[in-house]
């Protein structure tokens, strides 16, 4: 996958992973992919709900290790 930017939000508790993700996604272009790394379990449902409501697309997740990974494609 072609990742335009990676955000390290590990060790951060809610709401910071989403606050930072929201900021980071402004730095990439529509159609590009942001990779978010987080350790807060709450990030799973929150990122899914946020991408849905904000017009971005959560294209993949990896929850196999302690560091959760999310790939978000920027919407219009």
């Amino acid at each position: 996958m072609n990742v335009a930017k990676t955000l390290d939000a590990t060790g951060l508790a809610c709401p910071m992973p989403i606050v930072k993700t929201k900021k980071a996604i402004k730095d990439i272009e529509t159609g590009e992919v942001l990779e978010v790394q987080a350790t807060d379990q709450g990030a799973k449902s929150d990122l899914a709900a946020w991408t849905k409501s904000s017009g971005h697309e959560l294209i993949d997740t990896d929850e196999s290790s302690d560091v959760l990974k999310f790939w978000i494609k920027k919407g219009e």
Binding site: C14, I18, K22, D46, A49, S53
Partner: protein
């Protein structure tokens, strides 16, 4: 305006006293729909915190000016963020300390009654999840029935009361919450009692809780008599305490009855459930006060915050005890059941000692309502 922290114990008082409160829940819509802080006179607004990161102006008009406002989220971080923003706008608001996780773990002790010879009976109401557990105190000793995971609450309470916890017992293998019975017995050096028919796959030693067992608490003779009453699980056992109280576990609730399907055996156990409710309990004194292991809706909470009712009243009013036709009963308890509790399989495995999740994982597993009943 400064942002205030509201402790779960303060919120519990508002629920029990039926106070007014406006809850701004900033979790996701799914989380809010699944599970929230229930209060008879509470009003709600749900706006996910991520929609408020850039400002709260859009929701200011929807918030009351003359009512106490509590901001709630999963752990507390987001509610502090939103609460600070509202404070900056000049509103007087609080956030729930520890969020829904702390709310789920709060137990409110309510005195049910004095027992013979100076004994006492307390009910621990877990308002965030609808779980009920009990402590019988007598002559310097105590027994805890259906203990929840937060064992420090019982040990602190026992210390305050100057009693030693000698026995812990579970009415059945729980599927909706992680039992604290085994851990509590280990901490206090007491015995952990479990019905053997629910314990065929457990990985630890326990005292077999069987029909007719009498467990004495203290030297003043408070008896806890075991009464085999299968149906929610095959091992489900009730207790008659001090000949006055019937602890029904997850078999009979105030406004509903137990569901037989959480171990995947609804069809096998439905007959047992009917026999227990329509025969075994029928043979008991109707004067017994029923003390269940759960409640589902706020209507089941009495004015003093307790959950209890006379068996005779339940036979008159509880729909689940008044289904004449056996086929209809079978359909009621096996079809159109509510969703199963969150992570119920993993919770059962934890309670059997087969898996040992860390405490953070245990918290996650217990999120949500208990869903043990059929109405």
């Amino acid at each position: 305006m400064a942002l205030h922290a509201m402790k779960p114990s303060e919120l519990a008082k508002k629920v029990v006293n039926k106070e007014d409160l406006f809850i701004l829940d900033v979790r996701t819509e799914d989380a809010f729909e699944d599970w929230k802080v229930e209060g008879e006179n509470f009003e709600y607004k749900n706006v996910p915190y991520f929609d408020l990161i850039d400002g709260v102006e859009d929701i200011m008009d929807d918030l009351p000016k003359d009512k106490e406002i509590l901001v709630v989220c999963a752990k507390e971080g987001s509610s502090i963020m939103v609460g600070d923003m509202l404070s900056d706008e000049g509103l007087e608001v609080s956030y729930l300390e520890g969020g829904m996780k702390a709310w789920s773990e709060h137990l409110e002790p309510v005195k049910i009654s004095d027992l013979n010879n100076g004994g006492e009976l307390y009910q621990f109401v877990r308002l965030g999840k609808g779980c009920l557990s009990y402590m019988v105190l007598s002559g310097g000793e105590a027994a805890v029935i259906d203990a929840n995971r937060m064992t420090n609450i019982y040990t602190d309470f026992a210390k305050e009361k100057g009693v030693t916890i000698n026995h812990t017992m579970d009415t059945h293998l729980h599927a909706d919450h992680i039992s604290g019975g085994r851990a509590l017995a280990e901490e206090t050096g007491g015995s952990y009692w479990l019905p053997p028919k629910d314990a065929t796959e457990v990985t630890f030693d326990y005292q077999a809780l069987e029909d007719g067992n009498t467990i004495k608490v203290g030297d003043t003779n408070i008896d806890i008599q075991a009464l085999y009453s299968p149906g929610h699980t095959i091992g489900s056992t009730s207790f008659v305490v001090d000949e006055q109280y019937l602890m029904t576990g997850d078999i009979l609730f105030i406004d509903s009855i137990g569901r037989p399907d959480l171990a995947g055996k609804a069809d096998d156990w439905v007959g047992d459930l009917r026999t227990t409710l329509y025969e075994r309990y029928q043979n008991l004194s109707e004067e017994l006060i029923v003390l269940p292991a759960h409640y589902m809706i706020l209507d089941e909470l009495n004015d003093d915050g307790s959950v209890q009712e006379k068996l005779s009243v339940l036979y008159a009013q509880n729909h689940g005890l008044n289904i004449e036709d056996e086929d209809e009963f079978r359909r009621t308890v096996t079809e159109n059941l509510p969703p199963q509790p969150n992570a119920y399989q993993e919770i059962r495995e934890t309670n059997m000692g087969q898996i040992t999740p860390d405490s953070e994982k245990k918290r996650e597993m217990e999120i949500g309502p208990n869903r043990c009943a059929v109405r």
